[in-house]
Amino acid sequence: MADGTKDLLNLDELRAEGGLTGRRHLLSLLVENRPGVLARIAGLFSRRGFNIDTLAVGPTEDPDISRVTLTVDGAVHPIDQVTKQLHKLVNVIKIRDMDPETAVAREMALFRINAAADNRAEIIEFTQIFRAHIVDVSRRSITVEVTGTTEKIDSFERMVRPHGLIEMARTGEVAIARARPES
């Protein structure tokens, strides 16, 4: 739709914006570090019927500002609407819909796995393959710390689950934009 004469605009060619993107979105929010801010974000999601897949909150380099990293399924919720509603919260300063190509995203998880004598060696082998760490051992179980992409943690879970996954705790992803190579 270039500028120029009015004849260049045919109403039939106009396309509506928005809609579902069909992929998972990782939103990185900078918010004021104040009591109640997380409640406002969580409340917004619940009253608008949006579902948060994962959520991680922590400090940033600026003590007045916290970072909230959350993942939302863009196949279920119009991500445009989610970010615009989040922007309406006065305590939300900035929102980035992190592009997987230009962001580094990591998650940490702890797994406590059944590890009797017959499968202990195999669990240790998985731990090495996934560059994970054993952080606790008992006679019957091993606790492993895994850090990496969500997909890596998912596949570690798939590997160890048949051996008896006693307990799992995941942090949810945190992310940061990649610096340009020249900067």
Binding site: K6, L8, L9, L14, E17, E32, P35, H87
Partner: protein
């Protein structure tokens, strides 16, 4: 200075002339400060009324309305009004007392987590944790309440903090709010595309909402409409943004709108939504709403754009700034006005075939529609009209022909029964030289009738015209039409003797149950000094038509 006194100074600095409220334990320091304040406190009889009065004050004047309540039940009584102000984007500031900081979280006497309870229904809220924050929070609250998309802001102040000594310095200028920067200008490229779309449209409609009134942009809307013969319709909240009657005026649209307005939306090829939000009462069945149309959506709240109906040309901005640019760009295109001739012939056809109508009685029974027409005549069409929620509200919207913005104050989004009387009190306090009439429903008025005392005590000269049909009329209508006439709990039963009730509060009460007496009774009511209740007995089972049945499409209107 004591923090409570600093609060009053800060309110004064924001231009506050009146506040509405009720005192209580946790707000004792605030009320002690109000004793010496340079503005007036109107003591209401229920906190909900304080909130609605603040809304009426804001809607009538455009200035921020302020309500006070104490902690716990005082504050929870405000919540309906806060939610109402949120839905209808009313610039309001609510100031609540909270229990002492050492009691917070202990389930102390009259403790309620008011910032928590109100979180879903405020534009923003502040819980004071340090007395020195109070002047800053007041300044921020007013800024947030009245800029961007207006709305309610709550400030909760623990009792001990409002008694502390603080340094007070008046705060001016834009407050520091890094997460709050409304975009007002509108993207000029998008505006140019919208102008071209208008120039190419053969069946355009301007669909204006309450945002036009909030932005004080009625003049700018008229200019755009006048730049060509664009048909204009308004939502319930937008009535008065375009003068009725007018040759380009289609009437209100939506569930009880005119066929001309709804059919125009149904067949339009381009709809320009201006400060409107495609509520379900407008769209009817969403999947069949305006199936042939492309949408230009102008709104200051980006989240409204494409929320319900995807926009083809989104424009984020203040309609007061965007509309003149759009009008200018459109005029520069010198579009051929004759392209709209066929569209207007179609619209004229609907207007002639389906005017608003009702069957008047042949005896002395008063039809509710006639009552609204008679109100228009008696007030010269000039009064500020407030209403409650239900049939009478829709009949007022259909038959009063509002000609200017801020003339029609009602609860649109939340649909709060009992809004009318307290809103009228607030409107009259804000605009003492205007005639303020509350068109009340009998189901609604009884919910807030304690406010007769407020009008009497504070000498607020409002007139209440009660459309008394003895029913929750709109619910009765739905039970009749969609629930097999299984009438349940919709009759008001032995209603009070309204004339005596009014007189008991020190009002003048007048009864009218004959058509021939109606004009005279209204004249008397309007000319009698002080608050007057006119109890008009109307047809008990009249239905409000036309109507888009719930879940149906506009083209399937009935009645």
């Amino acid at each position: 200075m004591r923090a409570a006194d600093a609060l009053c100074e800060a309110l004064k600095a924001e231009g506050v002339k009146h506040v509405f409220g009720i005192p209580g334990g946790a707000s004792l320091p605030l009320y002690d400060a109000l004793y010496d304040a340079d503005f007036e406190h109107v003591q209401v009889r229920h906190e909900q009324a304080a909130g609605h009065a603040a809304e009426g004050y804001a809607k009538a004047s455009g200035n921020v309305g302020v309500a006070f309540a104490t902690s716990g039940p005082g504050a929870t009584n405000l919540i309906t009004a806060i939610a109402d102000a949120h839905m209808d984007s009313v610039p309001t500031v609510f100031i609540t007392g909270q229990v002492r900081t050492d009691l917070i979280g202990t389930d102390g006497f009259q403790e309620a987590d008011v910032t928590g309870i109100t979180m879903p229904v405020v534009k923003h809220s502040f819980l004071v944790t340090d007395a020195a924050q109070i002047p800053d929070y007041i300044h921020k609250a007013f800024h947030i309440a009245k800029t961007g998309r207006p709305g309610p802001v709550l400030i909760d102040i623990p009792q001990d903090l409002s008694r502390m000594e603080i340094d007070y310095e008046p705060i001016t200028g834009a407050p520091k709010l890094p997460g709050y920067q409304p975009n007002t200008e509108g993207n000029i490229k998008q505006i140019r595309i919208a102008a071209k779309a208008l120039a190419n449209a053969r069946r355009p409609v301007l669909y204006a909402g309450g945002g036009v009134i909030n932005a004080d942009a009625a003049e700018e809307l008229r200019e755009l409409a006048a730049s060509d013969r664009f048909p204009v319709t308004c939502t319930l909240m937008g009535l008065g943004a375009f003068p009725a009657p007018h040759e380009q005026w289609l009437g209100m649209l939506g569930m009880h709108g005119t066929r001309a307005a709804n059919y125009s939306m149904d067949e339009a090829d381009l709809i320009v939504a201006i400060g409107a939000r495609f509520d379900d009462r407008i769209t009817g069945k969403l999947s069949e709403f305006a199936p042939r149309a492309k949408f230009v959506h102008i709104d200051i709240d980006p989240a409204e754009i494409s929320k319900n109906v995807p926009a083809h040309i989104p424009i984020v901005g203040d309609v007061k700034k965007v509309l003149p640019k759009l009008t200018g760009e459109y005029r520069a295109l010198a579009a051929d006005a004759s392209r709209l001739d066929e569209w207007w012939r179609r619209i004229e056809g609907w207007r002639e075939q389906y005017p608003l109508h009702y069957e008047d009685t042949t005896d002395q029974e008063i039809k509710p529609q006639l009552m609204v027409e008679e109100m228009h005549r008696a007030t010269g069409g000039n009064a500020i009209i407030t209403s409650d929620v239900g049939q009478h509200q829709m009949w007022a919207a259909q038959y009063y022909d509002f000609s200017r913005p801020r003339q029609w104050l009602n609860s649109g989004g939340l649909g709060t029964m009992g809004f009318g009387l307290p809103a009228a009190l607030g409107a009259k306090v804000a605009m003492p030289d205007e005639q303020v009439v509350c068109l009340a429903g009998d189901g609604s008025l009884i919910m807030v009738c304690q406010e007769f005392a407020t009008a009497a005590a504070s000498e607020i000269d409002v007139k209440v015209f009660l459309m008394n049909n003895g029913h929750f009329g709109m619910v009765r209508q739905w039970q009749e039409l969609f629930w097999d006439e299984r009438y349940k709990s919709v009759e008001m039963g032995p209603s009070p003797d309204w004339v005596k009730l009014a007189e008991a509060f020190g009002w003048t009460g007048i009864l009218c149950d004959r058509k021939d007496d109606l004009a005279g009774a209204m004249k008397t009511a309007l000319e009698t000094p002080g608050p007057v209740l006119l109890d008009v007995r109307v047809t008990p089972n009249e239905n409000c038509y036309p109507m888009i049945p719930a879940g149906a499409a506009a083209r399937d209107m009935v009645g």
